[in-house]
């Protein structure tokens, strides 16, 4: 690989990543040589500008056809574009949260917060558009490592330390499990490029190793459920969410989860779509029941355990576990709507969850507590917080005229659309949704029915903006979901996802 | 004769032969150590205007070290009752074994080499790292404040200097295009790498001295501060093995320096008729002498200077050296 091959690549397709990388590096250097006591506000602005720039770059790329550089380790297709938009949007909002997150023992490394956030984002974006096990894995780890540190950012706060450590340990285990599965995938196909793996999967030789393949699938899947906080690797979520600083929690529950689904779709679907099962039918069909059980278990665990929570952050941790379960449903029922459904739900989830966390951040900061009681009489104290919060909660519960409802509706379409329809999965989802009513409406009840002492809540302008944006988007998407859907259908052709443009013969082992 | 042996199907016969040869090498090394110590004392003596050992074995004290060894052999060895006994006993072994193992891959001449490993250099670096554990273990197991401090310092120093050491040789690898020590030597047929990567050589030499815990980097066993560092509690032959380790490493490191930078057995132009073995010996002794010389000349560094030097001077230099070497390769070769 010499200079002209190097120049033959269309580096422009990597523009968003380059922007983020550059800004992150720049931030780290500036922060390093900044005076300790000088304000870090400019850094936040710079970071925000970087993310916006990356977003702009992606929107400029919208009409470029699917391209792949660096021997298909990096590819730009509709899938990556669509999900990168989510990642960037989420990070942008989280950035605002972070900028207005006041806590004395975070001040000293506030600068680090910003560029760690960006590095995590970079990892997620790499995942979104890499088609090779190695780069996927490196992206995943970049995201994870940055998140670990962010979770422990409040160095003097025991809970923060502890959550960070628990995150590291469970994350490490998850990584190891995923890798172990991946190693088998590699071993059976002898490739790390996803499309070549998919090709070699047709190799009749593999029919003899159906069991190994199944093992590889299950273990890899189990490992990947960590990032999306779904069963079986969901246990970390409550503690980490509780201990981590609120913006980080928001990041984990939205961006990190989105990234988790990205890698899940990329890796599992492309790799195993052609894989033979134990008795030589499609593997994906064969494992469907197990994944279904996992999804159902996730929904049940999340929603039922959330009932018992008094701590709002823990409650949202379990709720986000439950949401992961919902989003797994279209993944299981592998309907042809798969991508837009997941994309739309994640979009809706982004707005409603970040909105909710914005309010949680404001309240926890003022009341110095995480108990649900901080919501007491919020409607009386400051209705302009209570009403948006109500919308977010209704949306999370999936009540009409909110984005959450349309998302759930879509998921049901996915689950019930096929022959045979997955009635019982839909039933489980519906039942758990009903259970979720109880704890979501409990918060609403606390806000409206209890009359709480406590002063009016002061909201920093930045957070107010995020709040307004999220609330409006939640309702708009609920009333006119076509805005999002048309955007999706108009700009993204999901067939590109399966399109292997890198001719196989050029991809040999010589590099 | 060695060739066909190596290419034959391995069996117990091989084990026997290799064992014999290895034992032979071990003996030579021990011989070297004995006289290296004497030489060191002599040279230091002359540098300090005094005649070093001159009683035992003629006026050159040829048997001085032998006598010392016997003395050590008949010393009573004590293990403090507070010590962690198994580790205490294990430590010298763990320190010594790798020191000897690394010799397996050193090419002493065209056909005088034991294991011609493809990744010889990597092997050397990897194995030599193990000794650190032995030293740390010794320091910790003694359950003594001085030795613990010494052990920790030794470990810190050794790992700190391992980085520049490891990175400084990359220049050499660049030129040779291989990790195999034989290839590296052959690569120096025309010009020794010392001239191609002077920076690399400089960094490597200093780091190697530090790795050997020799003056001016001998803080771990700084008599005046820590009594004797990590081996305070060791006595008799157990102590002797730590000493032995250091001198075997001196041997190994000197050979490695010769191989990597001084062109191993390669003769100086127009003097090809002198056998490679001899060339190797000459260059090797030069390096050893240099190290002794340094010890005679330079004072001991302060701990903070020591660490700072490794990370703030040598490491950047080593990193820089990578690109200098690459540039040299691009431009001149």
């Amino acid at each position: 690989m010499d200079l002209d091959t190097l120049l033959s690549f269309k580096w422009s397709v990597m523009a968003p990543e380059f922007i983020i990388l550059g800004v992150a590096t720049l931030l780290s250097v500036i922060d390093l040589f900044m005076k300790k006591e000088s304000s870090r506000k400019p850094l936040a602005w710079l970071a925000g500008a970087g993310v916006l720039g990356a977003l702009a770059a992606i929107f400029m790329q919208l009409d470029t056809e699917v391209t792949s550089i660096l021997y298909d380790t990096y590819r730009l297709d509709s899938f990556s574009k669509a999900f990168k938009i989510l990642l960037l949007l989420g990070t942008l909002l989280v950035l605002v949260l972070a900028a207005s997150y006041k806590k004395e023992d975070i001040e000293e490394n506030r600068g680090e917060f910003y560029y760690l956030l960006l590095s995590a984002l970079l990892g997620a974006m790499m995942m979104a558009s890499s088609a090779d096990l190695i780069t996927l894995f490196v992206g995943l780890e970049l995201l994870s490592l940055a998140s670990y540190i962010m979770a422990g950012l409040e160095r003097r706060n025991k809970r923060s330390n502890e959550s960070a450590f628990k995150y590291v340990v469970s994350g490490g285990i998850a990584t190891a499990i995923t890798l172990f599965g991946m190693s088998y995938v590699f071993g059976l196909t002898g490739e790390t490029n996803l499309f070549l793996i998919a090709q070699n999967m047709q190799d009749p030789e593999l029919l003899k190793h159906g069991f190994l393949l199944m093992f590889a699938f299950l273990i890899t899947f189990a490992g990947l459920t960590f990032k999306i906080a779904a069963a079986p690797l969901h246990m970390w979520a409550p503690d980490v969410y509780e201990g981590a600083p609120v913006p980080v929690t928001a990041f984990l529950s939205v961006v990190s989860k989105t990234a988790g689904f990205v890698i899940l779709l990329r890796f599992i679907i492309i790799t195993f779509i052609a894989a033979p099962g134990i008795d030589s039918e499609s593997l994906l069909l064969e494992v469907q029941p197990y994944v279904m059980i996992l999804a159902a278990a996730t929904m049940i665990i999340g929603n039922v355990t959330a009932l018992r929570q008094r701590n709002i952050k823990r409650m949202f941790a379990y709720s986000s576990i439950a949401q992961a379960g919902y989003i797994l449903v279209p993944f299981v029922s592998n309907s042809s709507l798969l991508f837009e459904l997941i994309w739309f739900y994640l979009l809706a989830y982004l707005f409603m969850n970040i909105g909710a966390f914005t309010i949680i951040q404001v309240l926890t900061a003022q009341e110095k507590s995480n108990d649900i009681s901080i919501f007491r009489g919020l409607f009386k104290r400051s209705p302009w917080l209570a009403v948006p919060m109500t919308f977010f909660l209704l949306s999370l519960a999936g009540i009409p005229i909110t984005a959450g409802f349309v998302g759930k509706f879509g998921i049901f379409m996915g689950a019930l659309g096929l022959e045979p329809a997955h009635y019982w999965l839909a039933a489980v989802m519906m039942a758990t949704t009903l259970v979720s009513y109880v704890y979501y409406f409990n918060v609403i009840a606390v806000m409206f029915f209890r009359d709480g002492e406590g002063a009016k809540v002061a909201v920093p302008s930045g957070l107010a903006a995020v709040l307004a944006f999220c609330a409006v988007s939640t309702v708009i998407l609920g009333v006119m979901p076509d805005l999002a859907l048309d955007f999706f259908y108009g700009n993204f052709d999901i067939n590109e996802f399966f399109m292997n443009i890198e001719a196989v013969d050029t991809h040999t082992h010589d590099h | 004769m060695m060739e066909d042996l190596l290419y034959a199907q391995p069996g117990w016969m091989h084990v026997a032969i290799f064992f014999a040869l290895g034992a032979a090498l071990l003996m030579t090394v021990l011989g070297f150590v004995t006289y290296a110590i004497l030489a060191e004392r002599k040279v230091l003596g002359f540098m300090q205007m005094r005649t070093g050992p001159n009683r035992v074995g003629g006026r050159f004290g040829l048997l001085q070290t032998v006598a010392d060894v016997f003395k050590l052999l008949i010393k009573e060895d004590t293990i403090p009752k507070l010590a962690d006994r198994p580790l205490f006993i294990l430590a010298p072994v763990i320190a010594f074994a790798p020191a000897f193992m690394v010799l397996a891959t050193i090419p002493f001449s065209e056909n005088m080499q034991f294991a011609d490993l493809g990744v010889g250099l990597l092997y050397y670096v990897a194995i030599s790292g193990i000794s650190t554990i032995g030293i740390l273990m010794g320091g910790w197991a003694s359950n003594n404040k001085y030795s613990l401090l010494g052990g920790m310092r030794a470990a810190a120093q050794m790992i700190s200097y391992e980085i520049p050491l490891v990175i400084s040789v990359i220049g050499v690898i660049l030129f040779a295009g291989s990790l195999n020590l034989n290839d590296i030597v052959r690569g120096q047929e025309n010009i020794a790498y010392i001239f191609l990567t002077p920076i690399g050589f400089f960094v490597f030499l200093i780091s190697s001295i530090a790795e050997l815990n020799r003056t001016p980097f001998d803080l771990p066993e700084a008599e005046s501060e820590l009594v004797a560092g990590y081996h305070v509690e060791y006595s008799g032959f157990r102590w002797a093995f730590f000493m032995l380790t250091e001198y075997v490493y001196l041997f190994a490191m000197a050979s490695l320096t010769t191989v990597l930078f001084l062109g191993g057995w390669m003769p100086i132009p127009f003097l090809g008729f002198i056998p490679g073995m001899l060339w190797f010996g000459v260059k090797f002794s030069l390096v050893v002498f240099f190290m002794i010389w340094i010890r005679g000349t330079l004072p001991r560094l302060r701990a903070d200077q020591l660490m700072g030097f490794a990370w703030k001077v040598l490491l950047p230099l080593a990193l820089l050296n990578i690109f200098v070497s690459a540039a040299v390769k691009e431009l001149f070769l």
Partner: protein, 124 residues
């Protein structure tokens, strides 16, 4: 197949050397046991502390800076995992690889600078 034998032989030698390296101390120490005297007394077995009575455990908490150096070592030592293969394969890879390595090392240096500024490299 011959090369396979060569390969195996080489590592067989390594094994032999390991064996020797362990054998020598064992032999020497056992031999020493026959020669050396054995006159135990309580004082001999106390920990040495410049003559004074040893006071409380010496297995204390290490200074944290040792950990920091350990971390630094882990990071930088592992980077050689990439540097060595690169150096070996430099012939084929050519300039592109050089540029790549440039970026890599720059980031590495950035890490070093970071540690420097954060006073990690400061002993005492």
């Amino acid at each position: 197949m011959d090369f396979y034998n060569l390969y195996q032989n080489n590592y067989l030698i390594v094994a032999v050397f390991l064996f020797l390296g362990i054998l020598l101390p064992v032999v020497a120490l056992t031999a020493g046991r026959l020669l050396r005297p054995y006159k135990p007394s309580a004082e001999k077995y106390t920990t040495y502390e410049s003559g004074i009575e040893p006071f409380h455990q010496s297995w204390v908490q290490y200074n944290v800076r040792y950990y920091l150096f350990a971390l630094m070592f882990v990071i930088f030592d592992v980077e050689t995992v990439f540097l060595y293969p690169w150096a070996v394969a430099y012939e084929e890879l050519g300039v592109f690889a050089l540029i790549e390595m440039g970026i890599f090392v720059v980031l590495l240096t950035l890490g070093l600078v970071y540690a420097w500024k954060k006073k990690v490299l400061k002993w005492t």
